[in-house]
């Protein structure tokens, strides 16, 4: 084969901390050929982003390249100076970042931002830049590019912003595109559209792509070769199909296994050697529902403008209906999934059920009692408060940065049970910590001293310490690595079986929902589009939207042909 476009050999990146220097990335070797797509897969902290930042030489101040060579087109990049890198970045190597909204300048129109890159790298002059920018917007399939040219990032959706970022990255026809988690935070259907666009554009231009992702499914579908990293080292590199069908390294096997796609039960996600006993069977759900939601509506009215108020004009703009007349129920001990894409109203619904948000109209009955009768602000004193608890989406965001894990778990005991005896509180906190598998010596730590999985456990412990009857799980694993997600999902399944709680599982991930829920409710634009038993909804979806959601889940290429989604026998 002809020489590689990018060749990284023995790369070592160090970063300095309070306790001396630590290697962030060590002994990394990789080759990327022309027109090839290489996936770097790993969990957080595996050094996959640092590797790509080292190639771009945009490491932050604490990090530095301590050894190894980076050859790009025969050029040494590891000791290249800033002016050379400035010239290369954007022209020869470009990058797509994780959060498209943060990657765009919020106060400049997107057209100007594309022009900047074109003019900076002498691809266009002031006179031709505008036309070229519009042509680029057209190429990334933004409708009505002339109009959108003047749009600001906040006026566009996340997927649109990512298209603009792609347009900027591809503006100068670079030879290498580095995509750092380009679709994290986007909906599955948007993710598919963005990834397919990226593949098509890079292929037609003969570009090489370095796709950095935590999602093996995504890498499996869009990459030619995959490189797996763990703790700053490359553990395995192989052709995609070979890697997915016959992984040689135990870490790759664990990662593959933890990916929920294709697993039959939650237990399948865990490595075989430390798999706990089978789940005890669930008791049959009793007839009377625990939670009944009927005709629930939440509207947000746009406040009248100042001028309208002054002139006492009564302009009637229809209020935005975030949740539009939905009804459903959750039985005792049942696990129900509320599935939909961002903005479909699923989080608003769960916040209303939790009495964090006042509904505009409708009734929420919990154990037959109408809980909307008590205003949200006074609900903290209601006896039902302890029975309705929630696990939040981001385990980091949902912990007060100033309180230790023990205090966070003890908070409901102090407030809702009025416990004041420190020994008693300590005992209850330790009991629940052992239930969620949180080591006791971590209890004194502050949130930033805990890992993502540990924080998730603290969040779950806090929610179940009161023994709630209904637990709302708002994307509890969305911010977690797959291996941690596997543990947390198993923990949730165990807890439900042991404590007989009902779950309302809010998620966008149908693969995760499948393993944990009895029933699925699919929401779109504030309405329920489909509802039914999990197996039925996934096997023969009735609504077109459900089918669209299912089709958007990334499937590794070789498995598409197999037709079924059965787990590979070789694993």
């Amino acid at each position: 084969m002809n020489p590689a476009l990018l060749e990284v050999s023995d790369l070592r990146v160090e970063f300095s901390t309070r306790r001396g220097t630590v290697a962030a990335v060590e002994a990394v070797n990789l080759q990327l050929h022309k027109g090839e797509t290489l996936g770097i897969v790993g969990e957080s902290g595996s050094g996959k982003s640092v590797t790509s930042y080292a190639v771009m030489k945009i490491l932050d101040r604490a990090r530095r390249i301590a050894g190894g060579r980076i050859l790009f087109n025969g050029m040494r990049l590891d000791d290249a100076d800033e002016p050379l890198m400035n010239d290369l970045r954007g022209r020869e190597i470009s990058m797509i970042f994780q959060n498209p909204r943060a990657a765009l300048n919020p106060i400049r129109s997107i057209g100007c931002q594309i022009e900047d890159v074109l003019i900076r790298h002498a691809q266009a002059t002031r006179h031709t830049a505008r036309d070229k920018a519009i042509a680029l917007l057209d190429r990334v399939r933004i409708r009505e590019p002339e109009k959108r040219y003047h749009a600001y990032p906040f006026e566009l959706s996340g997927g649109m912003c990512q298209r603009v970022v792609i347009a900027i990255a591809l503006a100068c026809r670079p030879q290498l595109l580095i995509a750092d988690e380009p679709t994290t935070g986007l909906d599955v259907t948007t993710q598919r559209a963005v990834m397919e666009l990226m593949r098509e554009l890079t292929r037609s231009a003969g570009m090489s792509t370095l796709l950095i992702t935590h999602d093996l499914g995504l890498a499996g579908e869009f990459c030619d070769r995959i490189l797996v990293m763990e703790k700053g080292r490359v553990v395995e590199m192989n052709e995609t199909v070979a890697l997915l069908t016959a992984p040689s390294h135990p870490y790759t096997r664990r990662l593959l296994r933890a990916t929920p796609h294709g697993a039959q039960t939650v237990r399948d996600l865990l490595p075989e050697d430390d798999r706990p006993s089978q789940l005890p069977p669930m008791q049959a759900a009793s007839a009377a529902p625990l939670l009944e939601v009927s005709s629930l509506v939440k509207t947000y009215a746009a406040p009248p403008g100042l001028l309208d108020r002054l002139l006492q004009r009564n302009k009637t703009t229809a209020p935005f209906r975030a949740v539009d007349d939905i009804s459903f129920s959750v039985g005792h001990g049942e696990s129900v999934a509320l599935v939909g894409e961002s903005g479909c109203g699923k989080s608003t619904t769960s916040a209303m059920i939790m009495r964090l948000l006042e509904p505009s109209s409708g009734v929420i009955r919990f154990k037959g009692r109408d809980i909307t009768a008590i205003p949200a602000a006074q609900f903290c004193a209601s006896p039902d408060r302890r029975l309705l608890q929630m696990v939040f989406q981001d385990p980091h965001e949902s912990l007060n940065p100033r309180t230790s894990a023990a205090d966070a778990i003890a908070e409901p005991l102090r407030r809702l049970d009025g416990l004041t005896d420190d020994a008693e509180i300590r005992h209850r906190v330790e009991t629940v910590s052992s239930e969620v598998g949180l080591p006791f010596d971590l209890l004194e730590r502050l949130p930033h001293q805990l890992s993502g999985g540990q924080k998730a456990r603290v969040g779950i412990a806090r929610a179940i310490v009161m023994r709630p009857e209904l637990l709302v799980l708002d994307e509890p694993t969305a911010a977690l690595d797959v291996s941690v997600q596997a543990l947390v999902l198993n923990l949730l399944a165990d807890l439900r079986a042991r404590l007989g709680m009902s779950y309302l599982f809010v998620s966008h991930d149908l693969d995760v929902v499948r393993l944990l829920c009895d029933r699925i409710i699919v929401m779109r634009a504030g309405r329920i589009v489909e509802e039914g038993e999990t197996a039925r909804v996934l096997a023969s979806p009735e609504a077109a939207y459900t089918r669209e959601l299912l089709a958007a889940i990334p499937r590794p290429r070789h498995r598409v042909g197999a037709g079924t989604s059965s787990r590979l026998a070789t694993v």
Binding site: L356, P401, R415, R426, F440, R462, A463
Partner: protein, 298 residues
């Protein structure tokens, strides 16, 4: 089993809280030499304020006509003033008064301003509108002129200087507190605390407000400097502390008359003390923020 585990936890538990605080303080001060300098400056100022009257070689109020306007010497380090008082003794003694005025003024505006701002940021609505416009009104005045007006109208006492200084600094705390609380009002951890049964007031005081401390601390230390300058400024123009009390502002004011005739030391040394104090407080900001920021603790 859990009892056993409890015992082992008790033994393994990290160093006691004060010890961790001290380690954290040591880290914050050693990581940044400027912070260390600021904390040393603060320590010296506090020590001088407390021990000042016992350290000075001369009575700050005793005048000796035959020693008037002597330049700095070994006997009188900072020279003597027009009444023959020892400038060094007066500068040292004045530390307590100046620090007292500025600390109490800043404490007052911190407490009241943070309360107003936090309530406005949390509940919004009419209280936010009302307090916001009221604070705008205060800020619309040239602040020093406003302080002059308040002291002139209310009377020339130390208490009124403190109140005037507190009023003109109030809007800064209220604004910072309002913005910081409004950002965190709907944070996930606040919602979680609500689920744990916290009422609105409890959420605001126990969960949200402590998290706004880091930016408030920066504001606090900057304001300490302004407050000292403000108090000295009021004395300088004849409002506030009156002669013969030793106070940096009056000393600079009195000394200014003698600069033309070459007696520079009268105004220079109290001016330098003032400058050092303001300098120290301004440098302290970053250090204080790091000290109250839990993320800096590892």
């Amino acid at each position: 089993m859990s009892a056993l585990a409890g015992v082992s936890v008790g033994q393994q538990r990290q160093a006691p809280a004060w010890r961790r605080q001290w380690q954290h303080f040591r880290y914050v001060t050693t990581a940044n030499p400027v912070t260390l300098l600021a904390f040393i400056g603060l320590g010296v100022m506090i020590a001088v304020a407390i021990l000042g009257p016992y350290l000075i070689p001369y009575d700050p109020l005793a005048s000796l006509a035959e020693k008037a306007l002597k330049p700095p010497s070994l006997e009188h380090w900072f020279g003597t003033d027009q009444l023959g008082r020892d400038v060094f003794s007066r500068v040292v003694v004045a530390t307590r008064l100046d620090l007292l005025i500025s600390v109490s003024a800043v404490a007052l505006s911190f407490v009241v301003g943070a309360a107003i701002g936090a309530a406005a940021g949390y509940w919004g609505g009419w209280f936010d509108q009302l307090s916001g416009r009221l604070l705008d009104t205060i800020m619309a005045f040239p602040l020093f002129v406003l302080a002059m007006g308040i002291v002139a109208a209310a009377g020339n006492t130390i208490q009124n200087i403190v109140i005037a200084t507190a009023i003109i600094n109030l809007p800064f705390y209220a604004r910072v507190a309002r913005a910081e609380v409004a950002i965190r009002r709907n944070a996930a951890y606040v919602q979680a605390a609500r689920l744990s049964g916290s009422s609105d007031l409890r959420l605001l005081i126990c969960t949200i407000f402590p998290n706004t401390l880091p930016p408030m601390m920066v504001q606090l230390s900057l304001n300490m400097g302004w407050a000292i300058l403000n108090a000295a400024g009021l004395s300088f123009i004849g409002l506030g502390v009156r002669a013969p009390t030793a106070e940096w502002g009056i000393m600079v004011a009195e000394g200014a008359n003698f600069i033309i005739s070459g007696e520079w030391w009268l105004a220079l040394f109290p001016g330098a003390a003032l400058m050092l104090a303001v300098f120290t407080f301004n440098l302290l900001g970053d250090g204080l923020r790091d000290l109250v920021d839990p993320a800096r603790r590892t």
